[in-house]
Symmetry: C2
Subunit: 216 residues, 2 copies
DNA sequence: TAGATTGTTAATCGATTAACAATC
DNA sequence: TAGATTGTTAATCGATTAACAATC
């Protein structure tokens, strides 16, 4: 197995390859060439072959790639052959939203609990999940073998919550808080800035409008 | 005003600049040099100056940038001086999640209604918002001057919902469905693939683990 | 004026695309 | 074997960084 550091551009394309392969599997397609995959997914055939060859030679010359075989390889690369146990930090609007969303999450990712500091919320239920006291986080992570902490607290407490999650021993943090946080190098961090995404959408809407005025 | 097409890399950094500028404003900081901004935000000073000069010369030689002035410029570039009226398409888990999230949305973005096809949900309320019949979408978009459609339906109906939103006249689509959709060039599209993000997190967690084994 | 820092041009770096020899 | 298509090297393109003249 190769061991060089893979660029984020490549990694972020892998889940997309996987989605299209699953669609192909559903349609009963057994093999696909990089050329045909290219016209389906919209990356160049060259890029597809380059991307995949970062991880190994999964194709066969003169034939193409086995759809199921390649999907399984990508599953293994992404680590989707394991189960991930998660906690949601914060039961406010954002925490409630993500808890709700988690119900539609692909198998293999399981929310095991929600944590809060506000006493009046502790002990109540959120979508069938118990809301725990933030004070008990470290014990819970250890006992329940939690892998991932999902940060849904406000700006001001996000870093302190991240610190405690890392101390408790999570291996990854999925940050939805509207602030950048830092984690030690042995903890993985993935950021979802929903409001940044919405602001980019606003930019593009205005850009299209501006151009249509200019052009004519 | 310059009119060249700005790269997405630049556009996606603008909301982040804005967040840090707002923090600085809160702290009462009045001016900042690209050098100081660099050590705060983690982009190089060169990149900051390059990015901003895509839109105009907002700084002053020998002085730096006015924090409030620059934040206002970025607001205008992103189009945050306007109000955006939005509808949520789909009242399932994902739609409920995004409706909940929308409550914590920055001012200027307002959810005006939720749309569904399932008869038993139509007419009920979701977080204080009426759930409307999908059949009435086109009228509603026109009457309520809706700018943005947020797609929270399942894979199979996402494209058809996008088509109807575009037909109804929205200017932008925020797609949360687990599938890629296509829109005409006069409609802006911004994609949030939460499960792709989670898969990337899984990759990084496994990568860190693999490296720590290898290294020692 | 002298010092600081921008705006902008030039150099570097990394990622994407093209080309083609290897091989199924 | 001949045709197809990969894996991989080389060329191109675009984005980031460095350098510096302009100027507040």
């Amino acid at each position: 197995m190769k061991n060089a550091k893979i660029s984020n551009a490549v990694i972020n394309r892998l889940p997309r390859y996987r989605r299209y392969l699953i669609e192909l599997e559903k349609k009963g397609v057994e093999k696909i060439s990089s050329k045909d995959f290219s016209s389906l997914i919209g990356y160049t055939a060259s890029q597809i072959r380059q991307d995949l060859n970062n991880f190994g030679g999964f194709g066969q010359q003169g034939y193409g790639y086995s759809v199921t075989g390649l999907r399984e390889e990508i599953d293994a690369i992404l680590g989707l052959d394991k189960e991930y146990r998660m906690v949601i930090m914060g039961a406010g609007n954002l925490g409630q939203a993500i808890t709700k969303y988690a119900k539609s999450l692909p198998a293999g990712f399981r929310v095991c609990g929600v944590f809060e500091v506000r006493k009046e919320l502790i002990g109540t239920e959120l979508d069938g999940l118990e809301i725990h006291d933030y004070e008990n986080l470290v014990d819970f992570v250890e006992r329940e073998k939690i892998d991932i902490g999902i940060i849904c607290v406000n700006r001001d407490s996000a870093q302190e919550v991240a610190d405690r999650l890392c101390f408790a021993g999570v291996k990854g943090i999925w940050n939805f808080a509207r602030v950048d946080i830092e984690v030690p190098p042995h903890v993985a961090l993935e950021v979802v800035q929903l409001s940044d995404s919405l602001h980019a959408l606003a930019y593009h809407m205005n850009d299209i409008k501006k151009r249509s005025h200019h052009g004519k």
